[in-house]
Amino acid sequence: MSDKDTIEVAEATPEVQQPYKELGLTQDEYQKIRDILGRRPTAAELALYSVMWSEHCSYKSSKVHLRNLAPDADQARHLLAGIGANAGVVDIGQGYAVTFKIESHNHPSFVEPHQGAATGIGGIVRDILAMGARPIAVMDALRFGPADAHDTARVLPGVVSGISFYGNCLGLPNIGGELAFDPSYAGNPLVNALCVGLMKHDDLMSAVATGTGNKVVLFGSRTGPDGVGGASVLASATFGEDGGRAAKRPSVQVGDPFMEKLLVECCLELFAAGLIEGIQDLGAAGVACATTELSAGGDGGMLVDMDAIPLRDPNLTPAEILMSESQERMMAVVTPANVAAFLDVCRKWDVEAVVIGEVTADGLLTMTWRGTTVVKIPPRTAADGPVYQRPLVRPDGLDGVLASGPESLARPAGGPALGDTLLTLLGSPGLADKRWVTQQYDSRVRGNTVLAMPEDGGLVRVDEETGLGIALATDGNGRYCSLDPYQGTQLALAEAYRNVVMTGATPAAVTNCLNFGSPEDPAVMWQLAEAVRGLADGCKTLGVPVTGGNVSLYNQTGATAIHPTPVIGVLGIHADVSKRLAAGFAADGAEVVLLGTTREEFGGSAWADVVHQHLGGRPPAVDLEAERKLAALVIAASAAGVLASAHDVSDGGLAIALAEACMQGGRGCAVTLPGDPFTALFSESSARALVSVVPGREAEFAALARQHGVPATVLGVTAGDTLSVEGTFEIPVTKLTSVWTATLPAIFG
């Protein structure tokens, strides 16, 4: 690519062959760029369009479906900003607002696990910061190939060390997430990072460049040759059958969490001093994205002097400067009068800041370099990108998978076999103790973490005086979604919703990270469309808005896609965190109650997977009305102080929920199961929870359950140090714990 390719040269040499395919553009897209500009693009313009029109940045395949997620008036009643901004903003009361979002960093984390995962945290944190919020917590939802697979030993420890390195050094508590294993992720691990930020209502910032003559300031790290094309050639392409990892390694960014910490504190001081008119983080597509989005969102014009951009490598071409995804950079629009004060704050925090351009009235994004003009485009044409209505086809063979249900699988017969099945599930990598991972994360920094892993949801105090707090959970289940993406997505939504409720919080908003295979495969597009439809319908029924999200496509190797894996994050508002509920049995002599209805539902279950490596049949039924009733009951009972513990019943069924409640509470229980013990123990029917009641408040709770229309089955009482299931098995809690805690250390050292 020539570095002397000015717009004059481009006009004079229409015949020059340009590497649009190598940059990830189709011939049609390339022609469209030529049509827009009325000439061939310069090398720099081609680079800019290629990253802006990448699947990762433009959402060109998913956009037509994502429109269905727009909240209706009822859902939007607590929103201060919705989808379209960097992240939605939710009013949580008392003058506070929170913004949260989950994003993928899947491809980079496979190519270079440590840096890929680290910069995933860094990127989502800057997104939240750009809204004017102080980032206050992170979570991570991780999915890998089989735990004992050779490559998992490379990817998992690297990903965890990257999250640990970046998040801990940045000083954000990691309050939860997920860890799952499945062969479908062996060549395409999923690394989804969530960040939540807190602000006062008046602090909301916007990503627009308005006010002709206002200055554009680039601040933070210098621009280097790392992450060039991360959004296009890395994130928006499949891996070849050979993996093809090594060749893509230079497209992975390198993180500096210390610089990010300085950038966070610097930005917050700039916000507080009122020195910023508009701000945008630099993530995917770097300077190209920040300049086009700021100008497209504002008055439409910007003049950028590329020579002013501080570089780590003076040999970078304009195209490379535009495409670089060097981390820890932000771009702000500042009035001329405020520039000196702005630069002073940056100097205090040792953050390099340079005026690189200004807002213009000509509606064009113009960039000069070494005395020549190398970019001159209408910015909206780059920011909006193409929109595709890709073909959808229900996958061949799905009917066969649905017909091959779990009914024929051999079930454990008799008490000891049921006990052994519990221990087998408890020791399986997906259900085992995750401390090998979470022990590497700081969940305590900032001193407001009330609940963190292994609890159902994370809970962070927002106000020390009033006890106001926010709860967060993420959930996804690729197995359910591969059987039925509509229903599977609603199950993930319901589980995250329920997990937030288990802390005593009221769900208020939803974010999502849609991880799928190639959109060029009609079967994958059908899965995506079904998942989005399921999420949209589910959120309407639950009365919660989707406030933002991220789509990660091309998660496939060769022709083999991952399980469709929408990961759903739910945020809840907790009125008084001192009344929080935890999963563990917290008191002796407490009545143990199962809430909800258990049906014989084993399609896609943990039991079918762990014991039989079977995936077929229907996933559990979704009953969102039942979820709403369960939520109302648990929230009311928690506020009334009637409950001693509350735990979601999901993967592995009641058996796993009982075992976890015993282990986390450090005490046993004696229970009697209703109906068929196998179904009672291992079915994964949704809209269920396991609670224990404060001794002496049993009648009050039973009345509350009746009042809310939630079936409540008294199973027994907490006592002793053994999990005893009447007439079935008795397992000491110490035995449960030793099985549960042994698995991951045995695999990962």
Binding site: F165, G171, P257, F258, K261, Q439, Q440, R444, G447
Partner: protein
């Protein structure tokens, strides 16, 4: 009784400064924020160097922080008797500044470890521990990547013999610390370095216990002469 003013230093990359200030407040003191670039201790009665990754700690932990302007004031003040508590990164900085002997090395196992651990107060006669009973057990979190205390044998013997091992890990050191050392003080007892984080154990709502608050109430008691000898 005049308010006790406890300074909390913020270096670039300090992370637990807010927590340390909150702990000081819970103990009844007035927290005073001190900035790394200021040669000014603002007349405080005691200083906390908080946890974090000062200057990114890409070099040896604390190696750059020890040269910051505020340390130019703090080192002579500490030598003159000003009570100083360094927590985690603060402990590393105190070692780098030679206010405490030894150093903190990479954890055994080479991974960052965050866990709630049992501690034993081995010396309850320092101004930072006087509110505890001797041999009192505490539950306090550790969270560090380079928390293994190391020193030569003679130094370790000397520390143990003279009561300068102030806190130990009751059930063994997850991070491989020599002789299960979790915290040591200088010969005068006014400078304490702790690898565990007492500021994260000041309220059972947000920590594993409120045991850590004792370090902060101890110093407030010592400074107000509430029956504690310096």
């Amino acid at each position: 009784m005049p308010d006790v003013r406890i300074g909390v230093v913020t270096f670039p990359g300090s992370l637990d400064d807010t927590d340390a200030a909150r702990a000081a407040r819970y103990a009844g003191a007035e927290p005073v924020r001190l900035w790394h670039a200021d040669r000014d201790l603002r007349g405080v009665d005691a200083v906390i160097l908080p946890g974090g990754f000062s200057y990114g700690d890409y070099l040896r932990c604390g190696a750059i922080a020890r040269f910051s302007p505020v340390m130019g004031e703090l080192v002579p003040a500490a030598k003159a008797g000003l009570p100083v508590l360094g927590i985690c990164n603060g402990f590393q900085i105190l070692c780098e500044a030679h206010l405490l002997p030894g150093a903190l090395a990479r954890n055994a196992g080479l991974r960052f470890i965050h866990a709630d651990v049992a501690l034993t107060v081995a010396n309850a006669a320092t101004p930072w521990t006087a509110g505890f009973a001797s041999d009192q057990r505490l539950t306090v979190p550790i969270k560090n990547g380079e928390g293994a205390y190391v020193a030569d044998q003679a130094t370790l013997d000397e520390l143990e013999r003279t009561g300068r091992v102030v806190v130990t890990y009751s059930d063994g050191a997850l991070n491989g610390s020599a002789r299960d050392i979790a915290g040591i003080c200088n010969a005068e007892g006014n400078v304490l370095g702790l690898m565990p984080h007492p500021e994260h154990a000041i309220d059972p709502l947000t920590g594993p216990s409120a045991d850590g608050l004792g370090f902060f109430t101890s110093i407030v008691g010592a400074l107000t002469g509430a029956g504690v000898a310096r």
